[in-house]
């Protein structure tokens, strides 16, 4: 048997006394593709960060190519041939591709032309179609990832770790990415990738490791798994598809016309889009990244900063409205539940109660704060949404992704909206919470609210929607009823 490239034994990592990873034993063989799966908070990121030297382990041993190591920084790991590509890219946006490739490895004197030529030759050798003189800020997500990979290869990495590499890619780009991974493997580079997409792991990985609550559940050849088995290992119970089964035949009839958007345009992101949303229904909006769906929603809810309307009309309850601030939209009963909860979702220093109550204060709440009312409000919503927390004073930053998302949703719902826009409501949310959030969206529509769910996850759209709108290149291009929609049809409309 060959020596494993990476061999972790009994690795434990604690944050403030709370273990994120509990005595995990994990190996990576040379030139293998290894998928790391698990719910949010299962410890996948922590585990890979230890291998890549981003954080240190609290205890346990780590061997790279048979040699005992304890990396103190990512550059030490890189010197041993371990590179990590993060979700948020670590490239410098204002530099060219070539400059980024050689960043940190420049000689004392650099000729820009020499650098460009070297980068050009190197990229060609990898068969990457990226212009070395292009500014990184102008590249798409997939191209940025290519540059990151090229940089890792240039620095002679023997193992490249990807954290959710396909989360931001279109299907086309995903295929390209997988081809790349296989080419890396042929060159003798091992790849570890963290993913939420079970199908991807089954399709491409040689071996699959599943983590749950910081512990290793199972490691085996990919051929030994199927979808159900993986889900069961991830959640520790059988869910087998029930989560994404269409609620049998039940489609709500449209109520009053709540929102109608006519010929809305903004820059190159939103082009002359028109659609209508009715009360008492869930309107699903499917679209790939860059289809302008988030931007459209943000214009409607006044969230987009400096939104220069290039034209068009938004009517709420048949009254033309132009929101330039989220506040105005909130006061009119239009709330936008963000796709990026950490950046613009919750207040991390505040307790759950303070977060929820702030939503109420911002929507014409009383000028004087009543702490009894705050506690009562929190109690009601904690029960309603099953928000799990150790105690009522816990700060939201300490909660799991799913519970954070519930707080963000509840904060918007206390504002008593008539139109709720969910943007990727279950991104980075564990399986159990997904089911609860889906139930909540359904009950909101049952209560007569107009609900928009924006998602790039097809099963979610298919499962939740009473109407399905498909966005492509800045406009709504097609509409389906749930009965006529199939995954193929919807996807076809989104990409062609």
């Amino acid at each position: 048997m060959t020596t494993p490239l990476v061999e972790m034994t009994g690795i434990t990592k604690e944050y403030r006394g709370v273990p994120a990873v509990k005595s995990v034993t994990f190996t990576v063989m040379p030139a293998e593709i290894h998928a790391l799966l698990g719910e949010n908070g299962a410890g996948k990121s922590t585990l890979t960060k230890i291998i890549a030297g981003v954080t240190g382990a609290s205890s346990g041993s780590l061997k790279v190519a048979g040699q005992e190591v304890a990396f103190r920084s990512p550059s030490e790991a890189l010197a041993h041939g371990v590179a990590m590509v993060f979700q948020e890219t670590s490239l410098v946006p204002s530099m060219t591709v070539a400059q980024n490739l050689y960043l940190g490895n420049e000689k004392y004197y650099n000729r820009l032309r020499g650098l460009t030529i070297a980068a050009q030759q190197f990229l060609q050798r990898l068969n990457f179609n990226v212009d070395p003189l292009a500014m990184v800020a102008n590249l798409g997500a997939a191209q940025k990832q290519m540059v990151e990979i090229a940089r890792a290869v240039l620095q002679k990495a023997r193992l490249i770790i990807f954290d959710e590499p396909t989360a931001t890619l279109t299907p086309e780009e995903k295929r390209h990415f997988f081809a790349l991974v296989i080419r890396l493997q042929q060159d003798g580079v091992a790849v570890v990738f963290i993913s939420h997409a079970i199908e991807e792991a089954l399709m491409i990985a040689d071996r699959i490791t599943i983590l749950r609550d910081g512990e290793l559940v199972v490691t085996d050849q990919a051929s030994a798994f199927d979808r159900d088995k993986i889900i069961q290992a991830m959640v520790g119970r059988t869910l087998s598809g029930a989560l994404y089964q269409r609620h049998a035949g039940k489609v709500r009839a449209p109520g009053a016309k709540v929102l109608s958007v006519q010929n809305l345009s903004m820059g190159s992101m939103v082009r002359n889009t028109s659609f209508t949303v009715y009360a008492g229904q869930v309107t699903g909006v499917f679209g790939l990244i860059g289809s302008g769906r988030t931007e459209t929603a943000k214009i409607v809810a006044g969230v987009l900063k400096r939104n220069f309307f290039n034209g068009g009309e938004v009517r709420l309850m048949d009254r033309p409205v132009t929101y330039r601030l989220p506040r105005h939209a909130v006061l009119d009963g239009v709330v936008y539940v963000t796709e990026d909860r950490k950046l613009e979702g919750f207040f991390d220093q505040m307790s759950i109660a303070q977060n929820l109550h702030l939503g109420r204060l911002a929507a014409k709440g009383p000028a004087i704060v009543s702490y009894a009312e705050m506690a009562a409000l929190a109690e009601v919503w904690r029960k309603k949404l099953n928000i799990k927390t150790i105690n009522a004073d816990a700060q939201v930053i300490e909660l799991s992704g799913g519970n954070q998302q519930k707080v963000v949703i509840a904060k918007s719902l206390v504002q008593k909206p008539r139109l709720v826009i969910f943007d990727e409501p279950t991104r980075g949310v564990d399986v159990g919470a997904i089911a609860e959030i889906h139930q909540l969206t359904q009950s909101l529509a049952d209560d007569g609210l107009a609900v928009i769910v924006i998602s790039s996850y097809l099963p979610e759209i298919m499962n939740l929607s009473d109407r399905i709108l498909v966005a492509r290149q800045g406009r709504i291009v097609e509409e389906f009823t749930p009965s006529e929609a199939t995954e193929q049809k919807v996807m076809y409309a989104a990409v062609h």
Binding site: V303, L325, P326, R327, A329, V330, L331, Y336, T338, K342, L343, E344, G345, F346, F347, D348, Q349, M350, S351, Q354, H357, L358, G359, L361, A362, A363, G365, P366, A367, I368, V369, D393, Q395, K411, S412, Q415
Partner: protein
């Protein structure tokens, strides 16, 4: 405090309070007369101006801002008022004009930070220099402006002891209580904490972030004006040269020392009171020990550095604050 510190955990406030008590104990053993009633009163009185300024600074820092123009707007507004009084204008004219001046400085600060989107630290720094230059050029000619004889009774007011406490101390404690209640029980107070915690989230939630920012700087300018009035009552004059002194750093010192984080949203008014207490004890003790002004400055600077390090250790800059930028 009301920002949501976890209960049962020892915060910076408690640490600083403990240090203040220890220092107080040491000084009372080392220095004769330190414990005398006269000294304690004068000690508290001398830092109450600093404390009042600290309250204004605290409010801006809690909302993820900072107001470096406080001392400049205070000294120019008060000096201008004194110039008018000396020229024979009635207080009923001079004071409202000083208030209007302060409000205008606050509004300008707010506009620069909220609408032009200049980082608060630079906007208020530039505003401070501008206000001082403008004031010295157009409004006030000499550095030192005395309270005219006719208004000396104002200064005598300081000697009065309602409730057995000097007027400046009552002003400080009263303002602190008001600020505490406002931050905790008023909707706008919660908005300030929300903005300091996560400005983007505050905006999407529907908090009127920009008008709150303007309000925040108007409040700090008005509090500065009040501190200036007290200062004038204490020394019967206003020296505009304090603008180039270290006062503004002392104000930041008392604020940060007590546990108000420069990254916003953390800490409370009690932090300012505790910080003021410690600095008051230190300054008084050092003066009684005959330490030179320079030596005192060195010690203050070291304490400020210590407080900033403590702030960074207790409230580490996470990814999020790094992205959005502090202050």
């Amino acid at each position: 405090m009301s920002g949501g510190n976890r209960r049962g955990r020892i915060g910076q406030e408690q640490i600083i309070l403990a240090i203040a008590i220890v220092v107080f104990g040491v000084f009372s053993v080392l220095i004769r007369d330190f414990l005398s009633a006269g000294n304690i009163v004068s000690m508290v009185q001398s830092v109450s101006v600093l404390g009042i300024l600290g309250l204004g600074m605290a409010i801006t820092i809690l909302g993820r801002g900072i107001d470096l123009s406080m001392v400049a707007s205070m000294s120019v507004a008060i000096a201008w008022m004194l110039v008018q009084l000396n020229a024979g204008a009635p207080l009923a004219q001079a004071l409202p004009m000083a208030i209007a001046f302060s409000v205008m400085v606050g509004i300008l600060n707010g506009i620069l930070v909220a609408y032009v989107e200049i980082p608060a630290i630079f906007a208020t720094l530039a505003m401070g220099v501008t206000v001082y230059g403008f004031g010295k050029y157009f409004l006030v000619e000499s550095d030192v402006n005395h309270l005219p004889e006719a208004w000396r009774w104002l200064a005598d007011l300081v000697a009065a002891r309602p409730l057995g406490l000097p007027v400046p101390v009552i002003a400080f404690l009263g303002c602190a209580a008001l600020a505490h209640l406002a931050l905790r029980y008023l909707r706008d107070g919660r908005f300030i904490y929300a903005m300091g915690d996560n400005p983007e989230a505050a905006r999407t939630t529907g908090v009127p972030v920009r008008s709150m920012m303007v309000l925040q700087y108007v409040i700090s300018a008005l509090i500065a004006l009040l501190a200036g009035l007290i200062m004038t009552m204490l020394v019967a004059s206003m020296n505009t040269r304090i603008v180039s002194g270290t006062l503004v750093y002392d104000v930041i010192l008392v604020v940060v020392l007590g546990g108000i984080s420069l990254s916003g949203g953390r800490g409370g008014i009690l932090s300012v009171v505790v910080g003021t207490l410690l600095i008051g004890i230190m300054l008084n003790g050092m003066t009684m020990l005959n330490l030179t002004f320079t030596a005192q400055n060195v010690i203050k600077a070291l304490i400020l550095l210590f407080a900033l390090v403590l702030d960074t250790l207790i409230n580490p800059r996470d990814e999020q604050t790094a992205q959005q930028g502090d202050i």
